[in-house]
Symmetry: D2
């Protein structure tokens, strides 16, 4: 179109000078917006259908608009729609595409009763909701893998650590399932963020609603939203859903970083309890023997990336007057980046956990090397001798102190016997052997949620059920979104076939 | 007790040297722990009852333990229980109090089947849950005040801003209710954080559970928890509930900071739309005419305080091996500080909003001073002349550009008429007057959630219902917590009266 | 080369499986490394020359290595060298390029006595140093522009604000030069960061130095560094220079964001004191009258971007064992992003400040509209009547309180006279008129650094000198870096011409 | 004084209602201000002297003012001056103290030509400068201790780690001195922050300077500042010096946290390379054998505290209009907290490092357990066989791979010989033994800054000189500050003795 040859900004009526080139480059958002092209087109389709349904544009105009938007969609899906930077954002790109296809007379009608302010936050919510579902699915994958690995090791003894020091014997299954347990709360947090994401702001227009008699329920349904962000000013100006999603991702990253740290630690020569599969380790350009847990290290570091993005968004929202401010444009780059980061972490972490080798022998060796059974010895004295716990804690504490000085361990049964006897506690060698045996320790733990193999098996099953339920929820929600897209498509086909809109259910 | 005169650390058995004084000062946590004394005592009472119910300690010992703990509680409630710094933390203080009262023989039995690791996180959760309820109540107060003020102003015209520039006329009621709307999501987020807070980790012991046959359901019920954090390793080592609470508070603070910014702005001489009540403003030591919105400024600044505390906790959790690490002790100071900060903000913000004066005249004046009705004029052309929106946007844009150059506004009806005519649009003076009148603009907005007075009234009612529902939820939850405390107290009275535990329902 | 056809990782000797595809994608750093290709080549050239100079490789091998590296450099400069992602990073890409050109026999010798650990931090420092110089130059541009604009307005009266409330009359030149003054400290901070950046870690090898008798002074000189990071472990493992640079950028961004906020504010209808040039403002897709200070808004928001990057790097460094960890790879993306962001802000801010229109009339109007001269009236009473300042503060405070209630200002001379008289202070109308006149207020300020036009002119001159000195420093430092590059090039030409290295000065 | 009985706010002239109690509690700053009482008094003394010297107040009034301020100072130093919360801040407290002592007629004259805006930032700078010196001294202590410990261990072999994996043999002295080396940059950064801190903003008054003919040079000298913050608007509104100090502290904390992490790690059973002294370790309430590196853990966690404070201050400064805003009051709590935190870390870290035991035997054992000498073997082949490094890297990589599969190490000389021979490299057993011996490895490192004992000794000496120089600088700066205090005191004594001010040198 000739009058678009040298594009005149769609909003430029009152301006006497064009945006400076450096200002355009500074302010245009096509890089971040390239993620929400499909959403912008879908949103425009739903908006156009609603306008026609409400009698604000004619069905003829609707047909032409939908034809062009479908074409834009095809171009996009074929990878041929590239956003022009000089058109600033995705909305202007789609609208200009429409104007070039349908002419300004018809194309110029699409933007009736809406604004870029409600459009962009609609697109962002539509994109984010899918990413949150994807991440929940990837977390479920990691949980399942952890639980599978855990199920193989409910009786594999290893030292349980507090303060990175040997505390009590636990099983490797207990250790791994503990991470799956923490991730279940991440599932809940992301689900909660989804609830506040999948709400429709479209129809809020610039900030005040509109004087056209639109029907916001229609667009809400066509776009698969669960509800409406009713208050127009709140709808266009709020990004707390972005901050909430980033918070949930930051906490998820934190939880994963703790497993990452343990993978780095446990795969050292000193610990030697696990081996990272070669496919997830790297070597050195100078030291030929090196095998580094690089994936775990990078995961650890990229936790900081997510923190930074959260801090960025919180900072940019702080003390912003209500309604839309251009600052809000800056919600998407950090959100996309955090989503990509967490997604890539999960995609690489799951197969790494799947493939890592647990060195059960080394775990067993460490479990009895450094007094991890001391608590059990104290508990034994409480139970069998009726002494107060604190007294037993003192007795065993002194025993351990002496053994350390002598370079001995609890496996030196006879010396243990002697030393206990000196403190007035007579135990047989068999009793001692039984009490300090790490595997027997596991078995003796009886409390709910303890490292006892049956307890761990029960928790693995319980967490497995939670993951299965997550899968079902995700399938249901995805199906709902697909139904909405399909519903929109049916109306589009109907209209493009020249049939009257009144035959469509909205 | 003489052997406690010079206190020997309860955990000191294997140590040959005392903690250095500077190390004690560096690591003791009594300042932060002074917030959780009541919780620690309640937790100990419930734990002792459960131990006796499970036959792990005798009922006689239970009686003595409960007697001493009740005494500690009375001392605390009378303000006479001060935590000794040399005893490091609240747990050791309470236990030493017990040992001094009941003797080491009996007092030393309380710590059976538990650890400071599960104790401290139990206490923290018990304290946090109440603070979250308090904050929800305070948010509800602010919401109600905003809605009351909004209800008085559904027809008070003011400029709606985007980019801090005049956009379209809105009502002051629309503006204020928009903030109440955003706060409703904060209510949801804090409620979600509560769900993951009010779960019982007690019984996880150090990290692995215990070999004593405890019943975690009993302590969970007696302490008013909604459920159990089952996995022992996860229970003692996880603080994502702290990070989640801080995230929710950070986002809440952000939302309030946006209102704070507007109060600063709208109370300037230039805006002049509101006046901060004298009781919430401050003067200058040098400039006698000054009246500063200091409360709003400090609120704005203290948003950063909450961000900092969130960042602190996230950073301290990052890459921590699972299970308890001493780093976790550092969860409480930032949590308490953030809770106090947000609490004090809410307590001062609500009466300030209650007392602030809205200058309706100035609002009205600004609403028609700077072309806020331009969109409506474009919409009029779309509706009445059937032109595409983009065309009308261009026409009105050029009109506005010319008027600005001429120092005129849309209230210069005749010039407006001329200029529109020059662009081929004939409007009567009456039409123009009606279209650009800000009050008429409000009335014309018809869409759901718009600034139309009826829409705003509807939203005020809807949000009011949500707040009322929040109040009911809060009352129910508080009642549940009180019931749990009363239940524990009944058992204590029963036992202290010398009656058998078997008569108590657990 | 056939054996490189299917590339075998250069460090893969001990590995039995290739890196998984997702692990490669997760861990490769070519995107960030594409910024340091030139640096990596220069570093390799200097390293090779040094190895030959020290007799570790032969001069023949050196010639072949330099030939290939020069080719790589030409390819890069012609935009034809693209980093292969499967080669992980820039170092491997350059080395493989070399091996393919010079054969493995010769190419394999370059990596003698170095490691990717010292290489990457050398490259990063070389890149960062130039970016810091560029940013200092751009800050100098902004300072100069501010000072130029300030110089035009040393007598343009406007209200000075504290708490966003009118405080005392100042000049626009005083306001603008205040920002230039703050930026001077940013200059100093970036210069300080440069000092700790431009130091040479090359030769630290993996972490421990090397058993080859290298000469680190040679590479340090050839690469234009000001000194050596001597300690090898510290050299490869420290990134505090990155955190320091990011801190300096974060503070710089904060200072600019404060000007940005004022541009947003002062260009509102309500303030009306400045107008943003059309070329740096944007309109609305729905509201034809809008003119938004979008550049200032985005600048404000992107301050949070820099904060986020700083937090990211600090978090990733926290509690990292000394020496190189893969986490350190994550220093570059946030550093590059922060540098790009601040650079783009400066490039757009300077012409915007250059082009903005100051509305002197509106400034003057506001300056006398709201009691900004009240302090001067109090000071007058102190000076002329000998009263204590606090007494005068009270008198004028009560005067202002009454005038506000009456809707009057200090320009209502007669009422002012009456009210002062009622408090026992007799002033003539002339005295009052003179005291409260904003322009006279400016003139009366006499203290060093005050808003008095002469003082402001003096500060503009002083700051101008500082900027000029900055320019000179920058020119000198850039020259030094160019000399180093030229020196390296001379040696390369010499060697490529077949001449002996012994003829070169090192 | 009766009229102060019910205190009337000193700035309350125009106000009709008192500050609400909750607003007072929200906004008063006496807790934070209690740190700067001495500074506020000194500042007031210097200001009063200057006013008299400039003829703005009489010498009689000066005498009375100084008498009261000296009394306030004595009260403060005796611990009897407590800030009244209802007086809001330290400035009002001191001024009211003065008014109550000297009467409002004289006391009311002190605030001439100044404002709380310039006062508070003067006080903050005066306090911060001393804290920065204290922290530098404490860093010097830690450096010295590290260097002393390092000097004992220049030949103590331990594994050098990269990626927490064995890389090459280093000495414990090399490891420890590496931390001292990093801390030297922290010294520089804090010194740089000091430079921008110790500048005098007093005399800027509220924001615009003053119409009294004050002499800012006098107060600058009397208060020991190195220079003036000339621009009044910049002087009262800038807090970038606070952000810079916090950045320097955050980076310092990061560096210390890395040592802390290593202390946690190296004191585990698995590493067993160091033992934390009992006086700096803690036990467990349930596990009698535990010995936890609690000080190192808390240090690690409190790094996040500093990060949080930095983020808080940056956030609160972002987008603040220039000049004083109440938000700036919030600079002190985070600054004080960060200073206290870092100070307490340093005070406990130094004796812990002093007392920790290095287990040289275990270090030696680990150094040869896991192929740390592999690089040396490759380097040997390069040197002795003339092969390219990459080829040698491949050969040794394959050797290591085979040995690992066979459960052997480089100490299995004969197998090493066989495997190398199979790859065409003939080495004698002696050669192998020599090449892979960790102590020989240390000796062979020859490069500047390497782990070679002589190099390490040289670096210890060099760093020691730097620390000594730091001590000298600190002594000189402290002396300068004391001279300024003494100078002020001399003038005070002179005036109180009734002698004329003209006899004093200013």
């Amino acid at each position: 179109m000739s009058d678009e040859g040298k594009f005149k900004k769609l909003w430029g009526g009152r301006f006497s000078a064009d945006l400076a080139q450096e200002a355009l480059e500074f302010s245009e958002s096509t890089a971040a917006d390239s993620r929400i092209i499909a959403e912008d087109i879908w949103g425009s389709q739903a908006h156009a259908i609603m306008l026609a349904e409400c009698g604000i544009i004619s069905e003829d105009d609707l047909g032409e608009i939908l034809r062009c938007l479908q074409e834009a969609r095809s171009e996009y899906e074929a990878g041929r729609l590239e956003l022009r930077r000089d058109l600033e954002d995705v909305h202007m790109n789609v609208e200009v595409y429409l104007r070039e296809g349908a002419g300004p007379e018809i194309g110029g009608r699409l933007h009736t009763a809406r604004s870029r302010n409600d459009q962009v936050v609609t697109d962002t919510r539509m994109h984010l909701r899918v990413r949150l579902l994807d991440i929940r699915a990837a977390v479920a994958d990691l949980q399942e893998t952890l639980l599978q690995r855990a199920a193989q090791h409910t009786e594999t003894v290893m030292p349980g650590y507090t303060h990175t020091q040997h505390a009590q014997p636990i099983s490797a299954g207990f250790w791994l399932s503990g991470h799956a347990s923490a991730l279940q709360r991440d599932q809940q947090r992301i689900a909660a963020a989804y609830q506040r994401t999948n709400l429709c702001p479209l129809g809020a227009a610039a900030l005040a609603g509109t004087s056209f008699a639109i029907d916001r329920e229609i667009t809400t349904r066509l776009l698969g939203f669960d509800g409406i962000v009713e208050h127009a000013l709140d709808a266009v100006g709020s990004r707390d859903f972005v901050a909430e999603a980033l918070s949930a991702l930051a906490i998820l990253a934190t939880n994963i970083s703790r497993l990452a740290e343990e993978l780095v630690l446990f795969s050292t020569y000193e610990y030697g309890m696990i081996e990272i599969p070669d496919a997830f380790a790297s070597g050195s350009s100078i030291m030929p023997q090196k095998k580094n847990a690089c994936i775990a290290e990078l995961t650890r570091a990229r936790t900081g990336t997510i923190f930074g993005r959260l801090m960025q968004v919180l900072t940019s929202l702080k003390a912003l007057p209500s309604g839309y401010n251009r600052d809000l444009q800056e919600d998407k780059p950090p959100l996309w980046h955090a989503l990509d980061t967490i997604d890539s972490i999960l995609r690489v972490f799951t197969p790494m956990v799947q493939g890592m080798v647990l060195n059960a022998e080394r775990m067993r060796e460490l479990a009895s090397a450094n007094f991890a059974a001391a608590t059990e010895l104290a508990n034994f004295l409480v139970r069998e001798r009726g002494l107060p716990f604190r007294t037993c804690h003192q007795i065993v504490g002194e025993l351990v102190g002496t053994l350390i000085k002598e370079g001995k361990t609890l496996d030196d049964y006879e010396r243990v016997q002697e030393l206990l006897s000196a403190q007035g506690q007579q135990l047989t060698i068999d009793e001692i052997a039984q009490v300090v045996d790490p595997t027997a320790c596991l078995q003796r733990q009886v409390s709910l949620g303890s490292t006892n193999p049956e307890q761990v098996a029960g928790m693995i099953q319980g967490l497995g059920s939670s993951v299965a339920q997550t899968r079902e929820e995700l399938a249901a929600v995805r199906n709902q979104l697909q139904q909405a897209r399909a519903h929109t498509d049916q109306i589009i086909q109907h209209v493009l076939a020249g049939s009257p809109l009144s035959e469509c259910e909205m």
